[in-house]
């Protein structure tokens, strides 16, 4: 897209924070890039960047303009996929930002199903915590975000929510495995494996544990659910998940939760249920492929996971 290059250049400079670095990335000389930026600033009538000793940074006008640029790119992509649709090709690209919770089963399954009927649609999946997911929506680097945490920013539109009770995962022969529900006081003295502090699961757990003053033994902290689950086979301990991450509740053939492990819900009086938010940027027209995929996620949750989905 020749007519978008100057705009793309500005976007990259804004991201890199330096004209020279951006020029490197764009495979042109810094002088050419510099002049393009000066020219556009001239056309706008105001500088878009502050010149700092170590590079450049967007000023307020630049922030506004770059946001406009990113929206243009996203909208152009939408228009292109819409035009491609006309010739029956049905191609497109969907960019998702998701917490680790949805990576075990929900997203792999939904994406595979979607691609079965639309093989020309490609996907981008970035695993990140709630705050980054939100900012990815805002910078239009993601079309859809799955966030298991409270939503902070006003620019996020929540298309659907799903209540999830935190479960305690343990070896099948653990003394707590006999219980139907776990109380927090049961965890006293137990060895815990916890997700990092940024995780929504951890935040919910922490408030419960702090309030009740339960003395626990946190032996491991990780941002990888897979690692934590594997760890349990080597040192008996407890870790925590939400149902969609466990894969329980799904009725497909691939309920792949490890048979040597069991999951028991924590009593809702101790730790309240959290909310999985399925979101996109407020006021944005999603590309056809992304809009359709968003529908698919919600349908999958309702039909296959038998979960109450609020829309």
């Amino acid at each position: 897209m020749r007519f978008m290059t100057s705009l793309k250049f500005i976007d990259v400079v804004a991201r890199e924070g330096s004209i020279r670095k951006a020029a490197d990335k764009l495979a042109i000389t810094s002088t050419a890039l510099n002049r393009r930026i000066l020219q556009i600033e001239d056309e706008i009538g105001q500088p878009l960047f502050e010149r700092l000793p170590g590079g450049v940074r967007l000023n307020t006008a630049g922030e506004i303009f770059v946001q406009h640029i990113r929206l243009q790119f996203a909208d152009l992509a939408r228009v292109q996929s819409q035009i491609a649709d006309l010739s029956g090709i049905r191609r497109g690209h969907v960019r998702i930002a998701s917490g680790a919770d949805a990576l075990r089963r929900l997203l792999p399954e939904t994406i595979a199903t979607y691609r079965a009927s639309h093989p020309a649609v490609s996907f981008d999946l970035v695993r990140c915590y709630g705050d980054e997911s939100e900012s990815r929506l805002f910078s239009l680097d993601a079309d859809i975000a799955l966030i298991f945490a409270p939503i902070r920013a006003a620019h996020v539109h929540v298309a659907a929510t799903l209540r999830q009770q935190i479960h305690c995962v343990m070896p099948a022969d653990h003394r707590l495995a006999a219980r139907e529900q776990i109380r927090l006081r049961d965890l006293a003295g137990e060895k815990l494996v916890l997700p990092t502090a940024q995780s929504g699961v951890r935040q919910l757990l922490d408030t419960g544990l702090l309030r009740r003053n339960v003395e626990t033994d946190v032996i491991l902290e990780s941002d990888s659910f897979e690692f934590m689950q594997n760890f349990l086979h080597f040192e008996p301990s407890l870790f925590f998940q939400i149902p969609i991450a466990i894969g329980a509740g799904g009725d497909g053939p691939a309920n792949d939760f490890d048979p040597r492990l069991v999951a028991r819900p924590i009593h809702p009086d101790d730790v309240p249920a959290g909310t999985l938010h399925i979101c996109h940027l407020k006021g944005r027209v999603l590309p056809v492929a992304a809009a359709k995929f968003l529908d698919d996620i919600i349908t999958t949750l309702r039909d296959s996971y038998h979960q109450d989905v609020d829309q």
Copy 2:
């Protein structure tokens, strides 16, 4: 805006329906323009125009793309005015499409009041009928439309509505001037001066007259309310207006309705009240100036005209 020229060119070609005509308008050669269009079609991967013997016409892909282009231009204008706002200049431009009804008092008064506090904001006013107003919103040639007629297109967002009973305007010494309300049967044999068939007032009147089979004498048809009002001084006859067009109801000093004429409402059982719609394009973020002006119109109607405004 150098980086928008190619897009502007496509927009103009689409409007002109011919590359050569568009090239004339843009003050370049048709060959240069032609090649720019071929290049963009190449980048899009599909033709945007059908080549006809007498010129070119947008195909479906082109329709989608041109709509995108126009939105970009409108959004760029919004961004620019937002950036200008930062430096405290508060400039901007508001484009209005309105029926003749709002031209007597509502728009002059509201625009003047607005400009008193924002002297750097300029206005564009195009007088047109409902259908054209709607298409102007769609082609982003207008930010705001005032339409006294039913809304047809789905892409129009109605920000506020105002019920308006049609009034019959006549010389003060007319035999009907004594009545508080006019019935359609009173009009039998009267000489009528009517707005053109495209006008909302005319459409409402026609359905009433047809249903009741009233025999009338239409001596004049015009699209100019001013002309029709002046005509009444030379040949006693009846013409029709809605309150905001008469200027009645306003409590400002400029109730400029001609003292030699009087207006009497038509009985609502004969001709139902019509609706004035104040609209903008659905899903569009209006430029700051336009958004503020839209608020002002609604406030003026509510406060100064004491009209019930539905939002």
